[in-house]
Amino acid sequence: MRFKFTYKTAFTSLRGRMSRSLLTILGIVIGIAAIMMVSAAGKGAENLITSELSGLGGETVVVQPGKEPKGPSDFAQSLLSDSLKDRELEAISRKANVPDLIDISPEIFVSGGASYQGETVSATVLGFSAEFMMENMGLKLAEGVNFDDADIGSKSAVAVIGSDVREELFGTEEALGKYLTIKNKRFRVVGTYAPQGQAVFFNVDDLIVVPYSTAQTYLTGEGHYSQFVVRASSVDVVDRMAADITRTLRDLHNITDPEEDDFHVETQQGLVDQISTIIGAFTLFLSFVVTIALVVGGVGVMNIMLVSVTERTREIGLRKALGATDRDILLQFLTEAVMLTGAGGVIGVVLGSLFSYVAAIAVRQFAGLDWGFVFPYMGAFAGIIVSVLVGLVFGIYPARVASRKSPIEALRYE
């Protein structure tokens, strides 16, 4: 039989059993929709994280106290470690030690919030260099000015605040020149940031940035820093700079065995790699679940095809009596199976994209993340190929059963 008619026959037969056909492919539809959603989510998350991190600047590295955390206990040890002090800051800043460095600022995290005239707000208080912050994180000032190196040198009690902090403490009032209180120390507001939204690790709008020297003296009262943020002259020399920093600190601390490190240097690329690995593992796991769903769906298709073959024994017998070969019958049923699962694949791709699209809007709306919908071409392509393969694999057995029926047995069947 000509292929055009194999296709027509299969189509007519499926249309005649519309509701059953739709129920048969439900498993495939769900499986393929899941593939679409998993790959759309994976792509979306990767794009989000990569763009947020590159917002921090690929040429930026972070030096943190304690050795590189590999488990929960290492994180605790990293928080308690006090290996980064002025001595280390000075050593790294020296051009002879780290020639690729063009800028460095220590950072201090201060727990607790701020208050103004009895109004209290929980905020992330950061002892930092405001200029460094602006340049490296792409922040914009809405009002006022940044504090500068002179303020850092003189340990001025000044602060630049995020838009949410400004809103909650001052409302529509003028904020510049007002004094807010952090841990009983009064800070004069010199600038406010434009609304920025969620960055990867904290919300810029919740930020209060004060000079690190001031934070160290009045807020924490300790001699060590939470971390150093260091900028290289270009992305290409980041790895070399990280190595220079490592060597400098090891010399300073007389460390010969890397296992004994009481600090670690993190590049942005390292972070991106880490996160990509996590997303990859997650995607792999979900793909495994989806595979199981597709196998279950395929077995369902096979089951219904077998029922259909039995029901249509007379039709098969008639077609054979009229001249259909075994191959004609085999192709007819195989075509039906592939059309069924293929249609399931297409419906799955459409539904999956639709859900992912809606989910992306919801995430943007409610979580405030810059989560874009990316149509996963690979996922769509793979989904349709896989659904056709499922039809071939699970359709071949029922089709063989059909093709082997003898015309006599078939015609006698009531």
């Binding site: 007379r314 054979k320 009229l322």
Partner: protein, 226 residues
């Protein structure tokens, strides 16, 4: 030259039942043969073997001078398609399809060029007097009309021979007579017809009457047709 030539063909099943026991029959072009026998006599088995739907267990059968046991499945399918037309007791039309589509079915499996299909289908439907019903769904037709659709389907490939298995078994006597008149007319135009029945009245349409009982051919006589 005999169109069908069966020598001592038998059909037995694994459980030991013998459906056909050393039957020999020869049918020439243009004959109208009625095979008659009670149910279970083996007449259907004989028709199935002669119509290439089922192989004989032993014996030699030639169709149009070709030894059937030498043919592959695809070759047999192609003979069924091009040289043989079947008409069944229960019509065996496809559900949810029109008269036209039913009659078209054998052509879909044939080597006939697609541009000739329409003319052939219309000619076959015309031959059974159903031109006015061509686009109707077969489920809306009467039993007699359905059987005429089945005859048109058998005719559409211009076969050498038509096998009919109790073609009037599900029909009232009036439509039964109509259907038999069609077979008579086809035979007078030169078509070979082999039909089986257990009804003497129907059997009397045949120019030749073969009686079969317990798998054996009992008698084979030329008769005057009514």
């Amino acid at each position: 030259m005999a169109l069908l030539l069966a020598k001592n063909i038998s059909k037995s099943y694994e459980d030991g039942t013998v459906a056909l026991d050393r039957a020999s029959i020869s049918v020439s072009k243009g004959e109208f043969v009625a095979i008659m026998g009670p149910s279970g006599s083996g007449k259907s088995t004989l028709l199935h073997i002669l119509g290439l739907l089922d192989p004989a267990t032993v014996g030699e059968y030639r169709f149009a001078d070709v030894l059937v046991s030498d043919l592959s499945g695809a070759e047999i399918a192609s003979l069924r398609n091009g040289k043989i037309g079947f008409v069944f007791q229960s019509f065996n039309l496809l559900p949810r399809t029109s008269v036209y589509e039913n009659v078209l079915l054998p052509l879909v499996y044939s080597q006939v060029p697609e541009e000739d299909w329409g003319a052939k289908v219309r000619a076959a439907i015309d031959a059974v007097g159903l031109s006015h019903r061509i686009e109707h769904m077969t489920s809306l037709l009467s039993g007699g009309e359905r059987q005429r659709v089945a005859i048109a389907r058998a005719l559409v490939v211009s076969p050498e021979i038509i096998f009919a298995d109790e073609p009037t078994g599900n029909l009232d006597s009036k439509s039964g007579t109509q259907v038999m008149d069609i077979f008579k007319k086809l035979n007078s135009e030169g078509k070979t017809v082999v039909l089986i029945t257990h009804d003497e009245k129907i059997a009397s349409f045949g120019k030749r009457l073969v009686k079969i009982r317990d798998g054996r051919i009992e008698s084979d006589i030329v008769q005057k047709t009514s």
